[in-house]
Amino acid sequence: MVDILKPEEMFNSIDYTVPSDRWEDVPPDFSEGTFCYPTKKKNQDYLGIPSKEEWSPADEDWKLPDNWEEIIHEGFKERLGKYRSLKVFMDICVRCGACADKCHYFIGTGDPKNMPVLRAELLRSVYRKDFTTAGKILGSIAGARKITPLVIKEWFSYFYQCSECRRCSVYCPYGIDTAEITMMARELLSLLGLNINWILEPAANCFRTGNHLGIQPHAFKEMIEFFCDDIEEITGLKLNPSFNRKGAEILFITPSGDAFADPGTYTMMGYLMLFEHIGLDYTLSTYASEGGNFGLFTSSEMMKRLNGKMYAEAKRLGVKWILGGECGHMWRVINQYMETMNGPADFMEIPKNPITGTVFKNAASTKMVHIAEFTADLIKHNKLKLDPSRNDKFKVTFHDSCNPSRGMGLLDEPRYVLNKVCNNFYEMPENTIREQTFCCGSGAGLNTEEIMDLRMRGGLPRANAVKHVHEKYGVNLLSCICAIDRAALPPLMDYWVPEVGVTGIHELVGNALVMEGEIERTTDLRFEPLNEEEE
């Protein structure tokens, strides 16, 4: 790993002046620290996708397969035939520039190829050459460009500097979604065996063990039981969650990050406490132990393969419906893809909250409910006894994750919950939240150490907004509903706004929840004193 600049230096290094060379003539940078490490071949082999012997993006010659041009051309053609989105987006961009400074990677790097419009042009220029009359005849005058190994390198560089956050698409007069274009480009790169390890290793793990982190069944169970011990210490209550239990009413699936790393683990404790408190008849699965889906960042086929386990497990266990935990891209997949890919889910029932009787009509087809919807419903019906003052040491703000915001619209449910479980809640500025929210800087598989510079730059717009509320209201806790956020935001905060911590909202629910028969709590779920003064 290379050292990165100090925050102030980084901020001052951002320069929006455009280079004097045409963008077509600026080669991509592959110095150490600018690129994600390529995948190990074993992951590709394991998943049965085109593989490639060990290589590095820093190599001069990438040793592409002999027929690489044909592979790309055919792959492109196939995708144009499969996705109207791709075809229309290739054709209609007017280069008005409305999207240009909406991308957090552009804002943080000033690199013009991180403007969504130019990112898309990287692919579009080749499209023109290969598939349009004007491009074939007029060539570069019509913005067409022949594909070369250098163009492939450029794709690899810039399509792994897009977190598929869709912010650009909100502002585009035609809704051109660069995330969609990035997905296509990544699929094409994958046809040449060009994948990054941070995505493919979790995907391969997930395929085999059921979760990204490769946690095996017994270890998964142990981890959860370990949290139950912690909960017992804090509340005096002994929890007994079940695993792979047939006949449970509800299957609960959350990203495995919540079982594995702080601060996601505290959110996991929050879920478990909530379910215990309301006496929910649910089970966890070690087989479908991953909510997230790194297939989404690889190809639609991989997404489908990894997602397939959710319905398969629900069917095997005979549950009535599925409850899903806090995660960003997981919910893009569930909301916009799952039922179409792996449905119909007709072996389940329309989700009904057994405690309140609320029928989740909006999930009538997928049969999967978001935990924020579920908890909001419980609170609305007064089914939870809450003491928000237990979170009084926190001044909380909320980071909308990209996918639940722009690929779903889950905006007010988490806010409702937050406002009931804590007393000090402050919003960040309007143009940085809700559908205009900024990425954590590490989405879509870019949460990897070797590109820390890019991550800190890409996360700057988010961090800057946090800094604003930190200084204005004393905000000291950034809440979110995404496992990648819970992994990515702590280093981001440490870097830009070190006084601010990160939490999932169900950690705060867990803190506030007054459970039947619990002992008097002296600490929060992190074993820290409930109030600072008590120290």
Binding site: V88, T358, N362, K380, H468
Partner: protein, 332 residues
């Protein structure tokens, strides 16, 4: 600095000269007045239809609306029905506003670094210029229907009434002609002068703007300065629409043919270029779909059969460990 616009400017000037000399000095009025307009219309219609059909041919496998507001969920949470529609009606509303008011463009902002802060300023210019330009264009096109329809329909007359409301000059000034020119020039200046925009612009981006400027300029010249014989123009154009071909007696000025030739080039250019956005915006899956894929089943026509790791395979892999950990298994 990117000087692609010079190529486009050159192209427009050359095209103008071609028509000026061709229909003027060389006297090819039949070619420029009859043959090329027909050819252009044929290419335009065929090209346009082909492009739209071609888009339509590719399926929409997934529902991928960009949701820009609160989803429909619990009854007591207020849905943003326009920005996150879950019904056809909502989608129609969203599309209508998008097309009639350029709603997304209206949200535009500009990033600036101020001290140690990033600031986002709302900027209206792109939206304003685009609205000015498009509505002027629409008004101009509608007004031109006067040349192709007899009797002149009421809505054309109504637009003329509104458009001429200033009642200055003789012949009276039509606002839309001036604003079309202004809109196109402003969009062009934006493209040339804003460094980021200049950096992304291609010759193909300047060309239509310059062409439209050319159309507007020649039009304005004819109407207010060289005072083209409108009766003869109508004779020619009505001849075209009713297939009574012929160049009016005494012919028309070379300037008129430049104007007409530019228009022919523009409509031929449309199907082969980004100007297809006028149709594409209707087919954009991030805008024209309802966010209801959790409520309703949708079908992907090419849904692939894939191999996933089944529970049985999983259990085979981990059975011993599962039993040891007290996890239930299917096969002991």
């Amino acid at each position: 600095m990117n000087v692609n616009y010079l190529y486009s400017l050159l192209a427009v000037v050359v095209l103008g000269l071609v028509a000026y000399v061709g229909a003027g000095a060389a006297g090819l009025q039949g070619v420029f007045g009859i043959f090329l307009p027909y050819l252009a219309v044929v290419i335009f219609v065929a090209g346009f239809v082909y492009r739209v059909m071609d888009w339509a041919k590719s399926p929409v496998p997934f529902r991928i609306p960009t949701t820009s507001g609160q989803q429909q969920s619990l009854d007591w949470i207020k849905q943003n029905k326009l920005d996150n529609p879950s019904t056809l009606l909502g989608v129609l509303g969203r599309m209508f506003l998008e097309i009639v008011t350029f709603r997304s463009l209206f949200k535009n902002s500009r990033v600036e670094l101020v001290g140690d802060r990033i600031s986002y300023k709302w900027v209206v210019w792109l939206w304003l210029f685009a609205i000015l330009f498009h509505y002027s264009f629409l008004a101009v096109v509608v007004r031109h229907l006067r040349f192709f329809l007899e009797p002149v329909p009421f809505f054309v007359q109504a637009i003329e009434q509104i458009d001429g409301i200033l009642q200055v000059g003789l012949p009276g000034v039509f606002i839309s002609g001036v604003t079309l020119l202004a809109g196109a020039v402003l969009l062009l200046l934006r493209r040339i002068l804003l460094p980021k925009l200049n950096y992304i612009s291609k010759a193909a981006d300047y060309f239509p703007l310059l062409l439209i400027i050319g159309i507007a300029l020649t039009g304005i010249m004819m109407r207010y300065f060289t005072k083209v014989d409108v009766v003869k123009v109508k004779e020619l154009t009505m001849g075209l629409t009713t297939f009574h071909l012929g160049i009016p007696e005494g012919g028309l000025s070379a300037l008129f043919y430049v104007h007409l030739f530019f228009v022919c080039i523009l409509i031929v250019y449309i199907p082969f270029s980004k100007l297809m956005h006028m149709a594409g915006v209707f087919l954009s899956p991030t805008r024209n779909l309802a966010n209801n894929s959790r409520m309703k089943r949708h079908i992907n026509p090419w849904n692939p059969k894939v191999k996933f790791h089944t529970y049985d395979e999983y259990e085979d892999d981990f059975r011993e460990k599962m039993i040891e950990a007290g996890l239930p298994v299917e096969k002991e």
